[in-house]
Point group: C2
Chain length 119, copies 2
DNA sequence: CCAATATATCAACGTTTCTTGAAATATAGA
DNA sequence: TCTATATTTCAAGAAACGTTGATATATTGG
């Protein structure tokens, strides 16, 4: 992930409706959600949703596939991982202790309760 | 970190000059950089820099202190950690395997080469 | 106090982004 | 093929954002 891509990703998520769309798709998992379902969930018109979905697609954060009459959208998880890696890349230049809390926060998210890594 | 804060943070970083400012401050470490130094590094006018610094400050991503005639800006690292945690929060609802790559990417950034955590 | 340095504020302008509603495209079933 | 469903495209207007240059504020040294 370079600066251009990171900028596009940040811009894509710097909008209320789009941030909600991404979060809905992230929690929906790899199966994704139909555009119509998203429109209801985020409460925007279908044409407005379409506008935002295109923005997110251009930023590489989501992908789509057709299924019958519906278009199913889903999150591109590696794009999120890449954005996180980009955010923290410079953070470690000689100072791992600065980003250690970030690692801890993220690790906690994927670790069963009560189980924590040793320092 | 709630949606409002995350939105403010994404919006703050969704701008070329501001993203560069944040990265300069992140790499500069807790000591920070004077506004004038940043203006040279990012190549914007001082008044424009001031505008962007205010945006970043409002988003809680940076902080400032006066030192003589200079104002020294520095990154607020917990805000970055919080943003990362927010980004991935929903990612783990029943599917830890989805965000495991993100954890790996971030962990690698803070881990001495050759040393990796066990699964 | 005065001048120089460092930064912030303000108003005006141009640009980008978001929203809306109408019309177009694609698919499926009768 | 006709109609209904699902989604996208387009143009126009409104709103938010970024840049500029002039001016204001704060600090330091003479």
């Amino acid at each position: 992930m370079d600066e251009r891509q990171a900028l596009a990703a940040f811009a894509a998520m710097a909008q209320e409706h789009r941030l909600r769309i991404v979060r809905h798709l992230v929690t929906a998992g790899p199966d994704g959600l139909a555009a119509g379902v998203l429109a209801n969930a985020v409460e925007v018109s279908t044409s407005n949703l379409s506008f935002h979905l295109k923005e997110l697609d251009h930023a590489g954060l989501i992908q789509s596939r057709r299924e019958g009459r519906s278009i199913i959208y889903s999150a591109v998880y590696p794009a999120l991982s890449g954005l996180i890696a980009f955010l923290m890349r410079d953070c470690c230049q000689g100072r791992p202790e600065v980003c250690a809390p970030a690692v801890a926060a993220l690790s906690a998210c994927c670790t069963p309760a009560g189980e924590t890594a040793h320092a």
